[in-house]
Symmetry: C2
């Protein structure tokens, strides 16, 4: 039985930061990143460690922008795409802050914000907490698909895993932009077995969550400036539009924006169907949506990062790829 | 800043079940497992799918014992040891219940119960929810260490990953055994690089959490029947006892029990330093502690599953193995 959690003490965004690599800096949102390293290395020897460093840098920058010491944080909720989520645990352990690790594939940004918001709403001692998510193109490619050196050709449905991290500090105190509601998503099997077509595997989960949300909330898509998905890309976004229209929610399709299509310029950047990865929705939330919500240009969005639940081994063993799309409602009280 | 979350609406255990394999059936708690398959296959073609099936069977059994339909569940919080946590998502998607995936290595059982308990305390619509964790020896060995066929010799510090799953249904309604408090753990680097000595890597994290808990709560170890760790094994338990005594908590060391030492009989079973894995603390909670709490034989335990945060790649790349130990307080209101 799916429910929308209406937060009793909705936490607000205190500060946030985005960190990115070469392609992210070149993209339409590049100017808004707080830090980028065009070498994609972030001073580290391996791409895997670089991903952890991106999360660490992102959180440090968010704390700095808010003039907040990490000692004020009661909790970090974090996740990434690496096996056993080692980018997050390896990058963030230096803060010495209590930690909850999550895995929701590319849905982790919303999953982390949702979990953190509920924990903060429940516990009055939690004055500040942080959600951090990251992905690294080079670490993900060699883990999930082929070694980079192989130079394999990617099909048009493939997406480009973002080399990016987003860090969000929430506070229990008052603020301009709040998380008012959260709704965990169901695992939906899109019956796709092609690890180079994640958009299609996730579109059905996104549709399921959006349809459920409007059915449970009694709200209509026109109550929202945007209905945002994490990384469906061009292929998945088309499928989502069709599924929403079939469900009588074509207004939701019209108000739909996908972070994977905002992060890069597909005309000038070779990202095929668009961006993906935990860092995609996290960095676009920080560089695109939160500035608009903070200035009052947007008032109200439904934000659903989208995840494809598979491992290279599960795909090799013939399992289908399921999707998941948790949702949070973010409101500007400007 | 670490805090103890005192749950406003402490959820209670509604029902629970444990599923295990060959070694678990042979062990001292074998009779208490709700289902075991001595082939370790659980009707599946691969060990990886078998792990997912164990979680599914465990949750089905817990629901059946409580005469509850899965449709009454508002949320499943789950995790396992497989890359990208595919055992949980693959095994549990058939329920069609909203899902939060976690990764805390072998600490996932406590992490899941903690997260679920907080979500249920916050949202009055969440009448029932489930936490499920699993591990499979054969899936873990070939993923983390060596292919089984290789027959590599294991050092005395090595532990035996449990082929086991535990499923717990919590309810917001009244019940005999409740989760009253939760405390996320800090990531503590034990400066260990040996993937065959997880107990040592995790002992420092367990000590950190236990010391923090007693410092923050103002309680003393004698207020508890047991202080329970997930899978420190013989090596890690000895280190923990030393660290606790150094901190002036030798009473906590005297009341310490480790699930990894309860699950197997080390005299007759070749498990080296003891049991480990997400399924270890989960199945021992279900087969040993909850029956005692339910009957009033135990009144009050501090339960800390312990996790080693590493991946095979992070170890190969020279990273140290960090540990984490979230804590929950479980009280019998008999």
């Amino acid at each position: 039985m799916q429910n929308i959690i209406k937060l009793k003490n909705p936490p607000s965004f205190f500060s946030h930061a985005a960190v990115g690599g070469y392609e992210e800096r070149r993209g339409p949102l590049g100017e808004n990143f707080d830090f980028s390293d065009e070498s994609d290395r972030f001073g580290m020897k391996t791409f895997e460690s670089a991903e952890g460093e991106m999360g660490r840098l992102g959180l440090n920058l968010a704390l700095k922008k808010g003039s907040l010491s990490h000692e004020r944080l009661s909790l970090i909720v974090a996740g990434d795409l690496q096996n056993q989520c080692v980018a997050s645990s390896g990058g963030l352990f230096t803060f010495g802050v209590p930690y909850i690790g999550l895995y929701g594939a590319c849905s982790t940004c919303t999953e982390a914000l949702m979990t953190l918001a509920v924990m903060m709403s429940e516990c009055e001692k939690y004055e500040f907490g942080a959600a951090v998510t990251s992905s690294h193109n080079s670490a993900a490619e060699r883990q999930f698909r082929l070694p980079l050196e192989y130079g394999g050709q990617r099909p048009p449905t493939a997406q480009w895993t973002a080399t990016a991290a987003g860090a969000f500090v929430l506070t229990r105190g008052p603020g301009r932009v709040i998380i008012s509601e959260a709704m965990p998503g169901k695992i939906v099997d899109g019956a796709i077995k092609d690890a180079s077509n994640m958009g299609a595997a996730m579109a059905r989960a996104a549709a399921d969550s959006i349809i459920s949300y409007f059915s449970l909330s009694g709200l209509s898509p026109s109550d929202f400036d945007s209905i945002v998905t994490g990384d469906l890309g061009a292929v998945g976004s088309d499928i989502l539009a069709e599924l929403l229209s079939e469900a009588g929610l074509s207004e939701a399709a019209r108000r739909h924006l996908d972070c994977g299509l905002l992060l890069y310029d597909r005309n000038t950047q070779d990202v095929h169907a668009g961006g993906s990865g935990c860092g995609c929705s996290a960095s676009v939330l920080s560089t695109y949506f939160l500035p608009r919500l903070g200035s009052g240009r947007m008032k109200n969005i439904l934000f659903l990062s989208t995840g494809a639940l598979m491992s290279p081994q599960s795909v090799q063993q013939g399992q289908t790829i399921a999707g998941i799309a948790p949702a949070i409602r973010i409101i500007s009280q400007f």
